[in-house]
Assembly symmetry: C2
Homo-oligomer: 144 residues x 2
């Protein structure tokens, strides 16, 4: 769990970078055997691309780094509960572990597609949840 | 419906291109006011990227072509029922109409995430379904 906090802090740093450029602050990292394979943050506004979520980019970059499609030995850390799209991508990638911070009651996969993940993917929730949620709340408060 | 068949044939041509290069044969086109904005086929093997489904690429390319994130005036034609990931992306894009050919009982969004699409998206199923399913069956038969 100490490791989970450490890597979630890296994902939080990515989320902070997203906020700096006016993006909804979600960050992700993919870790394989104590090595960070990919770091990414949400870029939907910058790229005018609704699919450019942090998780999607991190999965693509990690697979590219490994030269393999499947991420069975990897952990994906993401600051906010993945949406349905990202949960579907996590399933296709066969990510070994998914660790997320804050839950997303409105858009999270748990509400709309609770069976979307691969059955072998281990899910850990709530790591640094307050910090992860705090970044989101600050962002939307400033936007109003 | 004549138009829907016409554009589905374009998506089928993309699916055939996928099959030629050893990819699971799914094709997609995005149409806006009788103009094809994007054509794509599945490239997951070629790119070693599980997110490189035909729909994902077509949505990204269409948004890029329009310079806008939302595809409310567009129709997405896809030869096979979208998976959960693609349904999530279609929702984020706010695609006006989704037209698909063959249903996918194992991996389609209707089974795992029937509420995943945007509530305003109109769905039309079964256009050239036999041709769309036939390409898939031929592909998997040859692979065995």
């Amino acid at each position: 769990m100490a490791d989970d906090s450490f890597y979630m802090k890296q994902a939080l740093a990515e989320a902070a970078r997203a906020a700096e450029r006016g993006e909804v602050p979600v960050g992700a990292v993919v870790v394989c055997r104590d090595r960070i394979l990919a770091r990414a943050h949400n870029l939907t506004e910058t790229l005018h691309d609704v699919t450019a979520h942090a998780e999607m980019q991190a999965l693509t970059a990690a697979a590219n780094s490994l030269g393999a499609k499947y991420l069975t030995d990897c952990t994906l850390y993401v600051t906010v509960e993945p949406c349905v799209m990202c949960a579907g991508a996590i399933a296709w990638s066969q990510v070994g572990r998914l660790v997320f911070g804050a839950e997303d009651e409105k858009r999270g996969y748990q509400r709309y597609a609770p069976q979307a993940l691969h059955p072998k993917t281990v899910v850990v929730k709530g790591v640094l949840a307050d910090e992860c949620a705090g970044l989101m709340k600050d962002f939307f408060r400033k936007r109003r």
